[in-house]
């Protein structure tokens, strides 16, 4: 069904239409929240909150990129979660195996179609990226998640974060520099497929 049609129906209060949009965008929104928050459960909570907030405020959507508009709601929800987390810090319960050892990547989130090797490689890469993302200030993290991971263009990122285009450009440049420095530490640990290319002249 046409997205604009679904949006118009949702604006009239049709929950089924909005749920069709939820189905289309839930993966993007959940992954955005996951990369900003770095925690599955918090990300799930933020995603749910974002969709609830989006439905309640969908009449304020005046056209343009619906993805950018949804990204704004999820980044707001993530900021709320982070503020809540700051007020009430908790110790996360890591999933454990039968021998009571911690599992770095919960197996229920792994793609069953991937081979064990691929799963391991992806887990390593994900761990490195998430570690470096977590080391960034939240404002830089949001920009790099939306621009580089979710592939939004500068205008969409600016709409999502309600910041001027210049600020987005500046934050993205700084974030990329910091990320590169951080990822250098993981180079040897990363699988060959993900290692950085040789730094040769053009």
């Amino acid at each position: 069904m046409d997205e604009q049609l679904l949006i118009r129906s949702a604006q009239k209060g049709d929950l089924d239409s909005f749920n069709s949009l939820v189905l289309a965008y839930q993966e993007i929104i959940f992954n955005t929240a996951l990369r900003i928050l770095g925690d599955d459960e918090l990300a799930a909570d933020a995603t749910q909150e974002a969709f609830i907030s989006a439905f309640r405020n969908i009449t304020s959507f005046r056209g343009g990129s619906f993805r950018a508009w949804l990204s704004r709601t999820v980044t707001n929800a993530c900021y709320d979660e982070l503020r809540r987390k700051k007020r009430r810090p908790t110790t996360p319960l890591e999933p454990t195996n039968d021998e009571d050892e911690e599992i770095e990547s919960p197996h229920w989130l792994a793609d069953p179609e991937l081979s064990p090797e691929k799963v391991f490689e992806q887990a390593e890469l994900e761990h490195a990226i998430q570690h470096c993302l977590d080391s960034l200030p939240i404002d830089y993290r949001s920009v790099v998640v939306l621009a580089d991971i979710q592939g939004l263009d500068y205008n969409e990122v600016a709409i999502s974060l309600r910041k001027p285009l210049g600020t987005i450009k500046s934050r993205l440049a700084r974030a990329r520099l910091r990320l590169q420095e951080c990822l250098q530490d993981f180079w040897e640990l990363l699988p060959a497929a993900f290692r950085l290319e040789n730094k040769s002249s053009p």
Binding site: V22, Q26, A44, F55, L109, D111, E126, D148, L177
Partner: protein, 249 residues
């Protein structure tokens, strides 16, 4: 080795990666990249970081994030009669409350007005009964009267005579001969005329049955009935509507 490229240059390199530079800026930057290895190094670093970020594995959602009507607080459209019945029920309850409040406050309001009733002339307490004059009871002396004149001393013997009279069986009760001590029975004196006035303060005589007040007045019963009926109707209609709506959902 980097030759101190400015942050402005770094920003341009970042925008260059995302193809966000104008054609003129792009041409200038490409010319510089050929001659400044430090700029090229930064560009390579940023490109690598960007490439790696784009390879971030996409996690599958742990569950669907469908919204339910309860989550978003959608309520079924209630028939117009529901708020009408609800309003009627609440109004009946409020009026009922006021009737109870008036009933409760009435005796309290009436008490000071009774206490303010004047007892007679002569100033001060003229009651012949000891204890009705507050602290002045200590001045009461039987046979001497209190607060009035010497003629009031007859009250006490008169009462005694009244109480004794029924205890003499066989004796016909002739018309009482006027005796100095019973004078008050026939010729009400000032003190006798005062007695009925003082009665409300003393309360009803012990032998007299008090009138039983009903728990609720007719108005209150009607209001309670209205409150219950309207409230029940509103609840039933609301419940039926919600059940039908939930089945449709």
């Amino acid at each position: 080795m980097r030759q101190n490229p400015s942050f402005r240059d770094v920003e341009k390199l970042s925008a260059y990666l995302d193809q966000q530079l104008s054609s003129s800026d792009r041409a200038r930057l490409e010319a510089r990249l050929g001659s400044e290895p430090s700029l090229w190094e930064i560009l390579t670093d940023m490109r690598q970081a960007r490439t790696l970020m784009k390879k971030t594995p996409v996690q599958r959602v742990p569950h669907n994030f469908y919204l339910t009507p309860k989550m978003v607080g959608i309520r079924p459209p209630l028939p117009r009669s529901v708020p009408v019945f609800r309003f009627a029920s609440i109004t009946a309850a409020i009026v009922l409350f006021f009737t109870f409040a008036v009933n409760f406050l009435n005796p309290i309001a009436a008490a000071p007005s009774l206490a303010a009733v004047p007892y007679g002339k002569g100033g001060g307490c003229e009651s012949t009964v000891p204890g009705n004059c507050g602290d002045n009871t200590q001045n009461f002396q039987p046979g001497t009267g209190y607060g009035g004149g010497p003629q009031e001393t007859a009250t006490s013997p008169a009462i005694t005579a009244m109480s004794i009279a029924p205890q003499t069986p066989g004796t016909t009760t002739p018309e009482p001969t006027p005796q100095p001590g019973l004078r008050s029975m026939e010729q009400p004196t000032e003190a006798a005329s005062i007695l009925p006035t003082a009665e409300p303060v003393m309360g009803k005589p012990a032998g007299e049955k008090s009138e039983i007040q009903p728990l609720f007045s007719g108005l209150q019963i009607a209001l309670i009935t209205l409150f219950l009926i309207f409230g029940a109707i509103a609840l039933i209609i609301r419940r039926i509507t919600i059940t039908k709506w939930q089945k449709r959902q």
